[in-house]
Each structure stands twice: as structure tokens, then as C-alpha cells.
Amino acid sequence: MISIRNVKKRFGTRQVLQGLSLDVHEGEILVILGRSGVGKSVLLRHIIGIEKPDEGTVDVGDIRISSLSQKEIYEAVKNMGMLFQGAALFDSMNIFENTAFYLRQHGNPSKEKPYTEEEIKRKVKAALKMVGLEGEGEKLPADLSGGMRKRAGLARLLVYRPKILLYDEPTTGLDPITAQQINELIVQTQEELQGTSIVVTHDIHSALYIADRLALHEGGKIAYVKKPKEFLEIDDPTITFLKDTLYNHPSARNQL
């Protein structure tokens, strides 16, 4: 479904991606673990066409995203969505308008006519209900807590039902209960949309809860990609450290 081959990316003097390769299968939730600053978010930005690799290729389905022009990228990413670390809600719009934004901009792909206001209202309400923000549509992003912002960001994606969903640190900075709500929403969204999801995180608890497969991003490359149980059995100092963190965390023991 998504195939990344030997991608290299440098920012100034810093080589962030150093020949990274990764395959993501259709319909799975792949979680990429790694320390802050190793380039996990940069990888997601390559998949959705915000960044272009210096070398290597990024294929999504049959489309080689890495060789498209900017205009072609916009066409190719219409069935993708990304939840940004800070949710990246548009400050000048309330939650309803944020959620309705894609529908208003791109209209109805299956019909000639744009969506009617009634259709937009119905779809936005359904998306906000799914993330538990029903009745909060009039609030501005600045009035929301971190968890609510993440949920609103997710509603903005759910409303247009993308087939590929990218999550950039979805639980970072949230309390454990809110983080678990977001984890559940990610799994629920996956079931609802039947798409492919890539989640970038450094939260091992969250990763184990949602992942079909786990990948470790280290030194600008993907070091391992395994199913959760096999992943934790790998003899690697980083994974051993993550495992130790887990065993010291009572709520996570049951997941192993």
C-alpha cells in the first residue's frame, strides 16, 4: 500500500533520514516508535507530500508521491489525512467550521454539485459526535483543552473519510486517561474507515494498544518492523529499555 525506499533527507547540516525503507500494508495500523527528534514526523510529511526526499522514493498505491509536481501532489493526497501533533486547527474558525472546511473546499467528489449546507451540517455533526464533541461546534480552538483539540482534529479528518490516516504523536502531552480516549478513537476510526493508519509516537503504552505492527525508527532508518509480541522479544537496547518502562507500568502489564 505504502512503500518507502531508501529515503534520504537533510535539513541544513543535519541528515535526518539516512536511507529509510518501510512497507505499510493495506488495512493495518503501523506504529512507528522512536525518540523525539529522530525524524518520525519528517517521515509522515514525506508520505503526505509536504516534504520531498533528497534521494529515494515514496509510493502510495500506484502513485509515486516523491516524483509528483505540487499540483499533482494535491490531487494525490485528497484521500489522505494527517492529525498533527498540536492538532493544527485553524485558529480563526470555530470547531464546526474547522470540521466543515474540507467539505466546503473540495465539494462532493461523487457529484457535480457542492454539498448543501444541510449535508455539511449532518456530516459535521456525525463526525463531532463520533469524537465526543457534539454540541461544542461553536467553540474556538483556543477555548479547548489539549485532548479536545486532538479530538477536533480527528473530527476534521473523519468528515471526509480518508483512506490513509497519519497520526503525529497523537497522545503526546495528554494525561493518561485522555491519551487512552485518543487511543480508543484511533482504533475506532480504523474500524469505521477500514483504511490504513500510520501512527508516530514515543509512547510505548499507546503503541501497544493500537498497533497491528510496530516499527522502531533509529538513526534515520527503520531498525525493525514486527508484530507487537515479536517486537518486544527483539534483543536491542532501546527495546529492552521500552520493555522495562512497560513492566514498571501496572496498566500496561496486561497488554503483554
Binding site: R45, I48, G49, I50, Q70, K71, Y74, E75, V77, K78, M80, G81, M82, F84, Q85, G86, A88, L89, F90, D91, F101, Y102, Q105, H106, L166
Partner: protein, 260 residues
């Protein structure tokens, strides 16, 4: 020393390249996929309508000062009668365009840069891209168009306010007759003067919106980065406006002398 000069020059050339690339990107995106009328309307309102008060006050008070100064400085030489021409010429050819451009840069350009810069550092611009929306077309093009059209209109408004301000001081305060103030104006203030002022304001409009949008779109480094970008956008705009004012004054007058 030579190394740091080289690095500085390299950065300047990179910045010029990025600036030109932004302008061409915005023009291409804006033509290929024009933004909705609502986006233009909002920008026309924010840049144009909301700036009228501040531009009007600036023009009006400048007219006050010009008239008062010319009467104080010239009346003992028997030249107080030229007050109307002096105020009119100064407002139309120089002060109207310059002060309007400065006020719009301070009021609108800085806000434009801060808004775009904040959107950049909070990944809102990336969010637009991820939703297949070109930020050049959606965010920058309406600001470009509104700025370029509204600055000349605001400048004309400022010129008129300046001339009326000068009238109030000359006639109502110093007791000059309205005819003395107004009558020489149509004879001495020419169409070329008006063209000079409006043409300058058009160029200043281009400078201020492109610089402020460029600095906004290139912002990095969080809240501190937004502050730095905003300051730089205003300072660079002011300096470029003053430099271009000089070049345009020289070029337009040379052109006028050649063909009249």
C-alpha cells in the same frame, strides 16, 4: 571576515530567490485555481475598510502640520499664498503614498506576517497542504490582491484628507481665504503629480504585501520566530518603501522631463 560576508551574501541571495519563488508561486496558484470571492472580500475589508480611520487621521493631521508649518515659515517672506499648493503637492506626490504605506505596513502588514507566521509554526499551513489546499492560493493570493488594490485607494483617501486638513488650519485657524488656498491647486497640481502618487502607492502596496507575506510564510522557531519575522517584515518594508520612493521619484521625473 570574508567568510562571514560570503555567508551573508549567500543568505541574501537565497532570500531573494525564495521571495521571487513565493511571488511566482502565488501568481501561478492564484491564476490556476482562483480563491473564492469570500476570501478576497474578507481581505478587502481587513486591509481596506478597517484601515480607513487610521489612514484618514494620518493624512488629516499631516495636512494640519504642513499647512501650519508653511504659514509660519513662509508668511514673513510673503509666500503664505502657496500653502495650498505646498500641502497639495506634498500630500499627492510624497506624503500621501509614503505615510499610507507606512500606516498600512504597521497596521495590516505586521498582522498579516504574524498571522501567517503563527499558522506556519503551529502547522496550520501544513494542515492546509495535507487537505490538498494550496496555501499560496488560499492564504497569500487574496492578501496580495487586496493589498495591491487597496493601498492606492487608501492613498487617494489620505491625499484628500491631507488637503482638507490643510484647508481647516489655513482657513479656519489662520484666516486665509478659501480661494487663496484652493484656487492655485488646479493650475499647479498636474495630472502627472497625481499619477506619480498613485503609481508609487501601487508599488508600495506590492512591496509591503509581498514582504510581509514572504516573512510570514518563512517563519520558523515558535513564538520568538513569529516576533522576529514580524519585526523584520516591518523594518524591511519601511526601508524598501523609502528606497523605492527615491528611485521612483527620480525615474518618473526623468521620464516626465523627457516626454513633456
Amino acid at each position: 571576515m570574508v567568510g562571514s560576508l560570503k555567508l551573508f551574501l549567500f543568505r541574501v541571495f537565497v532570500a531573494i530567490g525564495e521571495y521571487v519563488s513565493l511571488i511566482s508561486g502565488v501568481c501561478t496558484a492564484g491564476i490556476k485555481k482562483p480563491p473564492s470571492w469570500a476570501l478576497f472580500r474578507d481581505q478587502f475589508f481587513h486591509i481596506g475598510v478597517l484601515s480607513t480611520v487610521v489612514v484618514g487621521i494620518t493624512g488629516f493631521t499631516t495636512g494640519f502640520v504642513l499647512a501650519a508649518q508653511s504659514i509660519y515659515q513662509l508668511s514673513d517672506k510673503g509666500l503664505a499664498g502657496v500653502t495650498g499648493i505646498l500641502v497639495g503637492k506634498a500630500m499627492i506626490t510624497e506624503l500621501g503614498p509614503i505615510l499610507t504605506a507606512f500606516m498600512v505596513t504597521g497596521r495590516v502588514g505586521s498582522a498579516m506576517c504574524a498571522e501567517l507566521g503563527t499558522m506556519k509554526v503551529t502547522e496550520q499551513i501544513d494542515a492546509l497542504r495535507s487537505m490538498a489546499i494550496d496555501p499560496h492560493s488560499h492564504l497569500v493570493a487574496p492578501r496580495f490582491v487586496a493589498g495591491i488594490f487597496m493601498v492606492p485607494l487608501l492613498t487617494i483617501f489620505s491625499m484628500l484628507m491631507g488637503i482638507w486638513g490643510g484647508y481647516i488650519i489655513s482657513v479656519l485657524w489662520f484666516g486665509m481665504s478659501p480661494a487663496t488656498y484652493y484656487n492655485p491647486m488646479p493650475i499647479h497640481i498636474t495630472g502627472f503629480d497625481l499619477f506619480t502618487g498613485v503609481f508609487k502607492s501601487f508599488v508600495f502596496g506590492i512591496i509591503l504585501v509581498t514582504i510581509c507575506c514572504y516573512k510570514g510564510m518563512k517563519t520558523s522557531g515558535g513564538a520568538a520566530g513569529v516576533g522576529t519575522s514580524t519585526t523584520q517584515s516591518v523594518v524591511i518594508s519601511y526601508v524598501l518603501i523609502l528606497l523605492w520612493d527615491f528611485f521612483l521619484t527620480m525615474a518618473l521625473n526623468a521620464f516626465h522631463a523627457e516626454f513633456s
